[in-house]
Symmetry: C2
Subunit: 249 residues, 2 copies
Amino acid sequence: MTETRLDAVKLDGAGPVYDQIRRAIRDLVVSGEWQPGTSVPPEHALMEQLGASRMTVHRALVQLAREGLIIRRRRSGTVVATPPASHAMLDILSIPEEVRQLGQAYAYEVLARTDGRPSPEVAELFGLKRSDRIAHLLVLHRADGRPHVLEERVIHAAGATGLAGEDFAETPPGDWLLQHSLWSQAEHAISAIGAGEEQAALLDIAVGEPCLLVERRTWNHSQPVTAVRLLYPGFRHRFVGRFGPYGAA
Amino acid sequence: MTETRLDAVKLDGAGPVYDQIRRAIRDLVVSGEWQPGTSVPPEHALMEQLGASRMTVHRALVQLAREGLIIRRRRSGTVVATPPASHAMLDILSIPEEVRQLGQAYAYEVLARTDGRPSPEVAELFGLKRSDRIAHLLVLHRADGRPHVLEERVIHAAGATGLAGEDFAETPPGDWLLQHSLWSQAEHAISAIGAGEEQAALLDIAVGEPCLLVERRTWNHSQPVTAVRLLYPGFRHRFVGRFGPYGAA
DNA sequence: AGCGCTCAATTGCATATGCAAATAGCACTT
DNA sequence: AAGTGCTATTTGCATATGCAATTGAGCGCT
């Protein structure tokens, strides 16, 4: 349990004190400066460091805990939570996991990879400079041997450390990115489209067969990280969500 | 601004006091007993009624406000919020709104309506008894005159007051239900499917054209309210969502 | 009627204080 | 080694208190 640097918590004087504290700590967490697993200073320490009462510090920490950024336990103290990227989001992000949860055998092949500069279309789509270095991948995921989803992905080298030396033989790029990149923003778009010729061949379906197209782009503090297009044969996939009128259940 | 009944707030003695208060008021709101717009008793009143300190009452109310169930303003007091069903959820629920936000003219036709008992399939799909009374509707929504989405809907009469006397001439059923029913749970499923013959004719597209199928079922405290299948021509629709690793942005 | 002023109701925030509950770590025993 | 119990640390909860900020409502003046 590594220690965190206490003097890293700095207030900005804007708004209520408890909220300054909350934002200060939140920023340290989401920026990665306080890594998951490191322990947050106890209320007494923050109280002295910041010159606020314990209840005020408490209020900030309680709120952060409710937001899931930190985990608090009596006596053992407060630690930075491991980001839900590897939990809640995993359902959507990790295809191997998705397939295994269906009780099917997972496998994948990297069909193509090109490293270099983005084409004009890719640069446009993603807001990249033509001079940025990227990797362009085409991956086919299989469930019980049958084609499950076709993945076309662009990875921005600057956002993923160790990209050049990785051949994705062990881990498909989506899962690899979970380990080797950070993201703060994501955008999803879902639409329906007919399979093109090449796509149909790879997915082993008829040309024009309806498919779900999931497009996802992720950024880390406005720097692009990756963009992906996932093409699912439509008839055997559904995306399901449950919620109540006041939010997810 | 109607008044709320103060003695309706009852604690159950389970867990922290602030949370008992929070749940007590939340239940009054989500059950509809405290209607949107009615004013919640001020902190002092609750404090006396419940024998808790103001800060404790305050804590419960602040949390409810953050959850969006109530709205608090100094001096004017606290009122029950109008359910986000007509706000956040509206984006998805109200097709007229969706079309108008695209800057297109909205129109709709009720193509068919049957009132009676559910067929075995409908009963199965929805967990209804064969003896329940339902309405079965087929509605076509148009944007700028062109078919926009095809809606097939089942409404459980017991969950929607005034269903029998409503002909949906003024308001399409989805929007009408927002006014005349409550829901506490919803489930969405999105998939891709090719248009069938009848569907293609109605939507004015080719048979087999890829479409987005959105299926939604809603319940009110485990009692079915409505189920709907929305069929969107795929090429001109996308569902977009944005979020960060710690939740929606 | 309209305008501006004051007053008081109500929520927002922060502090100080005390006790309760959980438990990590340690000393001690078996 | 394994259990057993004590103690100190840390968070959780509730209270009492005081002041600040906002603003609806009434009042008085023109």
